[in-house]
Symmetry: C2
Subunit: 212 residues, 2 copies
DNA sequence: GCACTTGTTGTACGAACGTCCAACAAGCAA
DNA sequence: TTGCTTGTTGGACGTTCGTACAACAAGTGC
């Protein structure tokens, strides 16, 4: 880590790697370091210094790329959410063209790695804690939620659900998946990830077969 | 507030009220102050100093009653959860003896004041952020979750649901309610509290009528 | 080679944090 | 009244936080 040399002033520092990175790559490495710190130490341990140490970078560099921890957490959330979205897309792709199979793959993937991981919980919590006080982060959440629900509405429509029912069914299934995911993270011994998937598919069947 | 006199040492302080309270009452006032701070300032503003100021008490007193912020947050969560539980009990009482009406009252109450309030979100988030790192808090969550689910299983059994189905149905409905509640707090313009209740009742009908 | 630009460093600084503790004040027993 | 117990105070202390900034090093163009 080469941190014990810090007692010397700043004119001989050949022992520390000075590497200039592409701005995007540096941002990405900070985002990933932030995700690792959140996963390992939780919200309480998520500080500029901890993230800089994790990224192998000096503390000042964090402020050079992000206006503060909040902005970094928001980008970390967006980054992980993109990974989650990609994993679901891959599951839909793998499920083939049958609408029903695609719908089931959607909920099944929500409880499989890398999504159903307690390590992601701290990132979600850190983001949620900013929603009510920062309007731009509230907007980010609105957009993410709307995107998730719109995709689900599309899958339900493919399964032949009438348009007037789409909205409420999608809200219900989104809430069910999120609730199961949250409780799986918080009380992992209450039920398993496999059971969560089975419960969600079962509820899906009930919600899509009932007339209204 | 009488805080500007702090430059003087500690031998003339007649201007500050010194009131000795019952230990339980003092604990309760600190818990309520913690809840107010969380509601007003969010997780980030929840410090020993802020809570002491809110309670009209010196910072040192917080440490006299609680081992730290974590313990105070845990007790605040338990306190609010007890209020939520009492509100649901009252709704069940008011619903009469019909099992179906009682079950619907259960979910309806979950989205009515004082439960469906964004001000509670920060308390929940502060508690959740401790679950994965503090085993005694994880246990507290397990117990609260088990209690909630057991009550729901009881209501479902009264409605005639066969015993083998109780567990999964209760997990699903609990997750649905929690997910709707969370998303209502985070994106309040996505749907209203009334719609959340209606969606939950609708899903309830689908989940309880489907054979399996 | 030599300026010039700019990503990066390490430290310094003030503010806020949790904790600690000697001093103090109210109630109670005698 | 007097002495004792104990809830309560307010400031001291060391730590950690986020931010700011001058110094430095790697590219880049000339």
């Amino acid at each position: 880590m080469a941190l014990q040399v810090s007692s010397r002033p700043a004119f001989t520092r050949a022992e520390r790697a000075f590497t200039r990175a592409e701005p995007d790559a540096r941002r990405a490495s900070l985002v990933e370091a932030c995700a690792r710190v959140l996963a390992r130490e939780g919200v309480a341990g998520c500080s500029v210094r901890a993230i800089a140490l994790e990224a192998g970078v000096s503390p000042g560099l964090v402020g050079h790329y992000f206006s503060g921890i909040d902005a970094l957490v928001a980008e970390t959330y967006a980054h992980i959410e993109a990974q989650v979205s990609a994993a679901i897309d891959a599951a839909l792709e793998a499920a083939g063209s049958d609408p029903r199979a695609r719908l089931e793959a959607f909920v099944t993937a929500s409880f499989a790695p890398p999504i159903a991981s307690g390590e992601l919980l701290a990132t979600w919590i850190a983001f949620w804690s900013l929603v009510r006080s920062r309007s731009e982060i509230a907007r980010q959440h609105d957009e993410q939620y709307a995107r998730f629900r719109a995709r689900l509405e599309g899958l339900l429509a493919e399964c032949g659900m009438p348009e007037p029912q789409l909205r409420r069914a999608a809200i219900a299934i989104t809430a069910l998946v999120d609730g199961l995911w949250l409780e799986l993270c918080l009380s992992p011994q209450a039920f398993s990830a496999e059971e969560a998937g089975a419960i969600a598919r079962q509820a899906l069947a009930a919600l899509t077969s009932s007339g209204r």
